[in-house]
Symmetry: D2
């Protein structure tokens, strides 16, 4: 039985607490938050968990085996590092840290101490993304041509991060999980329409080492909420629409192909394939619960989860490269460039 | 009564011919096409129009007052120039020409001869775009923040132009009509997934002189057809979805604003406005017929249409700049740069 | 080569004429309409067809092999009977006649003279209905439980027929084609909200001899156009939405079943199956053209089409029974009752 | 401060408990359920409420002012009557009772003891229904022609009630609130496709005293969930789609009207009005919380809520009449008939 401590009981912490409570192999040992009101809320829902004001007391508590961190991004590094140094396993909210350097230090620390370091890329545990992953792994989509995502809504304007770190992070994590190809460069342009606020709208292009192209459209100032991703493959194409209550994933047997037409020797013809559509049944298990269970399993079996620190680091590299590109008015920034510099 | 000659009776020519036939103030005098089969088709639908094989005979025909050109892009310049030199008024398909220089020469020629030169930006005559134009002109959207368009479908792969010249041209023409602000730079990235074919997928960013930002997503290799544009304004936002059979234009009374909250002196708060949605009734008059009528009216009244040669030239400048940017891996290209160079 | 004459060139006649023109095995010989304006329109599109004012001259014309009738319902019987008596094959618009007696007389006449009598149930030739037919015939839906159709829109208010004869006729024809079971009774309630106009809204229930139940909701006074049918089977269920541009037919692997649960010996449990959805690729061939080709094929091969006079008669029986039920405030009317009475 | 006791902590009881907890003017005093597991769940969420096994102890508890009943329908009467006789105010789940007689007895008892008796018609407190109520009250829809509701989904098959008592009850409650007109008769047909289970599919027609017509389509065996209601008025029409996350209510400025056309003296013409659509902003306050607050307000102010016992009784009358009609194969049953008989 893994004893879990949660740091931060604001927006996301309660979800983590509930997921731990629903996991047979874990017990919710302690919750820390500087806010007395937050601790009061935590007590009403989890009366058996100890409430702690200062996270430093939680991460060093000998009755805690694993620490989950749901605090503002800027604090992730300090808390996670302290927990790792205290010998705890760590699940940290995404993005893992606000710089590549800090993310890399966490990876090194976890490795040195042989601790599980997981980044909360919740989406990869959804039935939808799991199913798409299977389709790609089975070769049913063929070669991946593109990933095209629209992730827009009205608000919430964040104060500490811009729309890239808030929304594009989801797509970076999903692509990191789905694709074998690795990003080589990112180009991004962003705009902020409210003075003294972080950028609220951005368009990002990600170039992969196999020629695939990803594009992300993120926006806090849209009239409606859209969560739609098109994935184009040489054999089939997918629409993943997270706003649908059913049929979130649709697989289209459509595409183009060359045909050699003997009548026109000097040119190659394009034929269109407009076949059936298929919406697979998706697992309805809650993603966060699956993720917490996987975290516990990795601790107990001493294995590495997919969304480990390396994965979190790769996502931070993309975020940092995208931010850098926005300051260059969209000039592509190569992945690895920032890492080497730091 | 304006006597019209149509050059090219392939895909679009029949639509022009029908629109002329439905216009009381014009008569369909002649149709030219090198293909005998095309002329046969034209005869069956328009038995009273004279059929001509060589367009050169049509553009110099004294019984023709105005020439409409529906041929491949690469031929627009030669035919339009010959028609203008023969003293004809000209309606030419978009894009007006394949280079900025050629487009500018047509503008000069039309001006020198005091002829009407119109570019067939059909969309600006739709009830939807007319209505959005009215909303912007009335100030009901407030300041324009962004224009975000998705224009994707499966095929048709073009042979002579890439997806930018085929699809983005529509958005350039619509923005040219809707916005008072002028583009200052374009950034574009494109990819082609079929060898020896033009690029079939592109993402374009257009930077305006008032800070507004446009983004276009065009793709010939998508599983479904999408024609959706979001327009964000400081007061209201619009979704224009051309695939809807009704309610193509939805106006959302939504947005964000700063509020000065006396309780927190040192920070400015953001408030969200989630008000009603309104779908205005749109004119159902066919856009192409409205456009042909406007063409005839401008000839008769000796006035200039909105979508004149200058407008067509501005659109070609954007197309050329976007194409140039794709060759620079998305580096922004300033508008005017190419013009001055040529 | 079958020589076709068309009676009536108003709303639907031009579609028939065009479909004949697209059929290699038929030639459009003549068109009749009392209106000179209609004949003028016909001439412009079909200059080689002879134009005739009086349909009596067309149906007896020796150069005509087959007559297609697209006139108001009240005239179908007289024209079709005259054509059959003159030895012509007949394709008549639905509903075939305005009474069961008249429909039965046409069936008898066609049989006595060994002529093809087809009723224009166009929908059964669509790719969508053809596909659903195949799914049912293959047993993939299992036993049919219900057919539930919503067919509403704003207008057109008809003058000569009410909404049942105008819209429910489509569902009656589709069900006649899809289902092996036969209707035994119909219950219908109707309302008219405009004085001195036919009923514009109706709800109909059809009881089948195998226990299946159909329900039709038809309305000329709805704010939006809906064309949606749910078909529930013991194995799978279908949604047929004719307003979709793609994915008109969706097949759901969903349902309920009893499970014998050993833990609860005294009760049988219900389990739910929520499986995948599948949208088969549909033929995009125009239904009317397929139907005209089938009409010609049946004439040439001396065979009977599915939508023959018997099928048309069955549909008229349902319409008459439904109308009768509305006058009884929804009391069920047995099929065959009216027939025997007449 | 009203002290509330809740009877039944199964599916709906926890929602009532949470709503009470969110109401400043009420306190959750006690919860009763025969199931120890249910009481354990209740304790974890509401540790300060007393847990009681037998409802009889709760309804007579002097520390309880008001009783909320969330138990199976068949038990409503006994529990509510006991609570009223003990002088408690009562909020009872819908349907209020399983017979008209029992419902009427509860109304009489509440009146005799001057207690508030409310039936939990939650939907009438939603922002959507409140807004439609306002549109009708303001005369913006004009005369009401029809109410047409589709309320279908897959499962849950109920054991104790059929689909009419489970789903149509919502529409009966909504119509009771929206319309000034009163139902005069109900016709219903139902079918059950699973042996030994209650009917799972039904179609109901409700005839109103002003000529309006309602139709309800309810079904537990549909492939997808639909919650859609069309309301047709002489001036405007409404679509209320509860499955939409935004724009649940759309108001269409559409309809038909007679026009006197001088050119055709002997007939009256119909004109169509296809105007704008408008989706009002809806209150997002949770309906159940609003309802509980209204319950408390009525107790404190000694006033009668809209959804009082009389309203609950009217709904039960409709349910009973519909059930009766299904046994008569859809023959209309007059409202009041059953009441007088009982």
């Amino acid at each position: 039985m893994i004893r879990v401590g949660i740091v931060g009981y604001g927006y996301w912490g309660p979800n983590l607490a509930r997921a731990v409570a629903e996991t047979d192999t874990a017990v919710l040992e302690a919750i820390s938050d500087y806010s007395a009101a937050a601790r009061e809320r935590a007590f009403r829902r989890h009366p058996s968990a100890r409430l702690i004001a200062d996270w430093k007391d939680l991460v060093t508590d000998p009755r805690v085996d694993a620490v989950m961190i749901a605090t503002p991004v800027a604090t992730h590094f300090e808390i996670a590092m302290a927990a790792l140094k205290a010998g705890k396993h760590v699940l940290v909210e995404k993005p893992m840290a606000e710089t590549v350097t800090k993310a890399a230090l966490l990876v090194d620390e976890a490795q040195a101490r042989n601790r599980v370091l997981m980044v909360d890329h919740t989406f990869i545990y959804t039935g939808a993304v799991q199913t798409i992953h299977g389709l790609i792994a089975d070769g049913r989509l063929g070669d991946i041509y593109y990933y095209d995502s629209t992730r827009v809504n009205l608000g919430l304007f964040q104060r500490d991060v811009n729309v890239i770190w808030d929304l594009a992070v989801h797509d970076f994590a999903i692509m990191d999980y789905l694709f074998a190809a690795r990003p080589v460069a990112v180009s991004a342009s962003a705009a902020g329409f409210l003075p003294e606020s972080p950028e609220n709208m951005a368009h990002l292009s990600v170039y992969f080492d196999d020629g695939a192209l990803a594009h992300l459209n993120v926006n806090w100032l849209a009239p409606v909420k859209v969560r739609q991703t098109l994935i184009g493959g040489s054999k089939r194409m997918v629409i993943y629409d997270d706003m649908q209550t059913s049929e979130k994933v649709k697989v289209y047997d459509r595409g183009v192909a060359f045909t050699d037409d003997p009548r026109e020797a000097y040119e190659r013809m394009i034929s269109y394939r407009v076949g059936e559509m298929w919406a697979p049944a998706l697992s309805s298990k809650e993603a966060l619960v699956s993720e917490v269970q996987e975290f516990v399993r990795c601790i107990e079996a001493n294995v590495t989860p997919y969304n480990d620190g390396e994965s979190g680091l790769r996502v931070v590299e993309l975020l940092a490269a995208a931010s850098h590109s926005t300051r260059l008015r969209g000039q592509p920034v190569e992945i690895g460039e920032l890492k080497r510099a730091s």
